[in-house]
């Protein structure tokens, strides 16, 4: 389907996201994705006001539970929550009972006992959000679980592409970098293919996950082929902290073979945009001139993240407090 902007004048007054939680892009239909993106456009306008706050989530408590380090995502969620007037608090794992050996489930059950409306969870284990969604009454928002999904990142990427290109359908999107360890990759591939983009992925053979071909994308180890004629180049970070060595000879060699340089960008369309979910490793997956160049939308992605997360929180919130939804 085409990603038409939902400006239809006689638009239906009610819309529905048929999920209590946002666990991954895998669960969302193309229509639901477009609903989130359209809602985010209205939310972006709130961010341009002098008073960047609306009363929508007044009296709702949102807990940001982050078991992994994060600057962008946690800050972005917190700003989104505050702009919607939710009461928000952050549980930093270094100062929590997790260091005393408490399990994820016990931590969640104890937080749950204090009646939050939503829990935004980041965890190193794939499936951690699904686990909590089965035991918590609060709505669970996945802020990145292991190597599984990072749905709000894919949504803000799609929002940024749509903002620049007016559509997603038919665009050639080249995703280059550490595919194996990337939850951003998985969420983006799911989303972009649902909305009709032509997705190419590129990495050294050691960093291509098994089954990649079955996800409806073109797979290559030749970065020039991936980038040729692309509308969007999306770079992924080398997740050195998740690697126990041996995936490629050296960072220097990786940059030479796969790094995004100005010369390589020239193979893409003249109006191609460069994206990166951050944090960037300058001189590893991307040259500084490219990251800071005029085609780069890396900081737009960060700005749009707040609007997209506001849209997700708005659409998931609701129901009487602690209503049980099957």
């Amino acid at each position: 389907m085409d990603v038409a902007r939902n400006d239809a004048p006689a638009a239906p007054p009610l819309t529905e996201l048929k999920h209590k939680h946002l666990l991954g892009i895998a669960d969302l239909s193309a229509e639901e994705i477009v609903l989130i993106l359209d809602t985010a456009e209205a939310m972006k306008e709130v961010g341009r006001r002098t008073i960047k706050k609306v009363p929508t989530l007044r009296g709702r408590t949102v807990i940001n539970l982050f078991f992994e380090p994060s600057t962008r995502t946690r800050t972005s969620f917190e700003i989104a929550e505050k702009r919607l007037s939710a009461d928000t608090l952050n549980v930093a794992i270094a100062s929590s009972s997790v260091v005393k050996g408490e399990t994820l489930v016990d931590t969640a059950m104890n937080l749950e006992a204090m009646s939050p409306s939503m829990i935004v969870l980041r965890h190193a284990s794939s499936g951690a959000c699904h686990l909590l969604s089965r035991i918590c009454k609060a709505a669970i928002v996945n802020a990145g679980d292991g190597m599984h999904e990072h749905p709000t990142q894919a949504l803000l990427d799609a929002f940024t592409i749509r903002e620049r290109k007016g559509k997603l359908k038919g665009l050639k999107v080249a995703i280059v970098g550490d595919l194996l360890h990337s939850r951003v990759l998985r969420s983006n591939v799911l989303l972009l293919t649902k909305l009709g983009a032509e997705v190419w992925v590129c990495a050294p053979a050691t960093l291509i996950p098994v089954g990649m071909q079955q996800m409806g994308v073109r797979v290559t180890t030749n970065v020039d082929e991936a980038v040729e004629g692309a509308d969007v180049i999306m770079m992924l970070r080398m997740q050195l902290e998740r690697m126990q060595g041996g995936y490629f000879p050296s960072l220097r060699e990786y940059f030479t073979t796969f790094g995004m340089t100005e010369a390589r960008v020239k193979r893409a369309k003249p109006d191609a945009i460069i994206m990166h979910p951050g944090p960037i490793n300058r001189g590893v997956e991307i040259a500084s001139e490219v990251a800071d160049g005029s085609a780069s939308v890396i900081l737009d992605q960060v700005a749009n993240g707040v609007a997209v997360r506001m849209a997700v929180l708005y659409l998931l919130a609701g129901g009487t407090e602690h209503e049980t939804v099957a």
Partner: protein
Amino acid sequence: MPVVMDAERISRALTRIAHEILEHNRGLSDLALVGVRSRGVPIAQRIADDLRKISGEEIGVGALDITLYRDDIMGASAGIKPLVRKTEIPFSIDGRTIVLVDDVLYTGRTTRAALDALTDFGRPKSIQLVALVDRGHRELPIKADYVGKNVPTSRQESVQVKLRELDGIDEVVLQGKA
């Protein structure tokens, strides 16, 4: 389905309201119109057109989406939500007389939300209210300054305003209980 206003009556009512706005405010300097989405926006645009024809002055028109200020959305069952649309007010409302325009005035809760929303955009000199139809049953102490037509209704009935710009036809229909 009785038609309580046809295209001609709507047009005459809006022209009369334009004259009333002009008379009441003794001129149009520092005056701007803000329509409440969806149907308040084309109505505000038409009043602005009438005001221009009468006075020759160009009046600013903004669009206000009040969804994020509503008092009933979080009570709805989870997931079902009104669609949020963009608020577009391309001028400063500080110190201006703002004429808020809505299609139907009923409980007054939409107007309450609109007043809260406007307050977040600045500090107008005053706010006046236009309703094409006032159907009664107020739940808040809110009153329109300019009314197209008073339509006595029961709570079981619904008033539907259809506009050329959005619905292809100009009419106001009163739908009774089945």
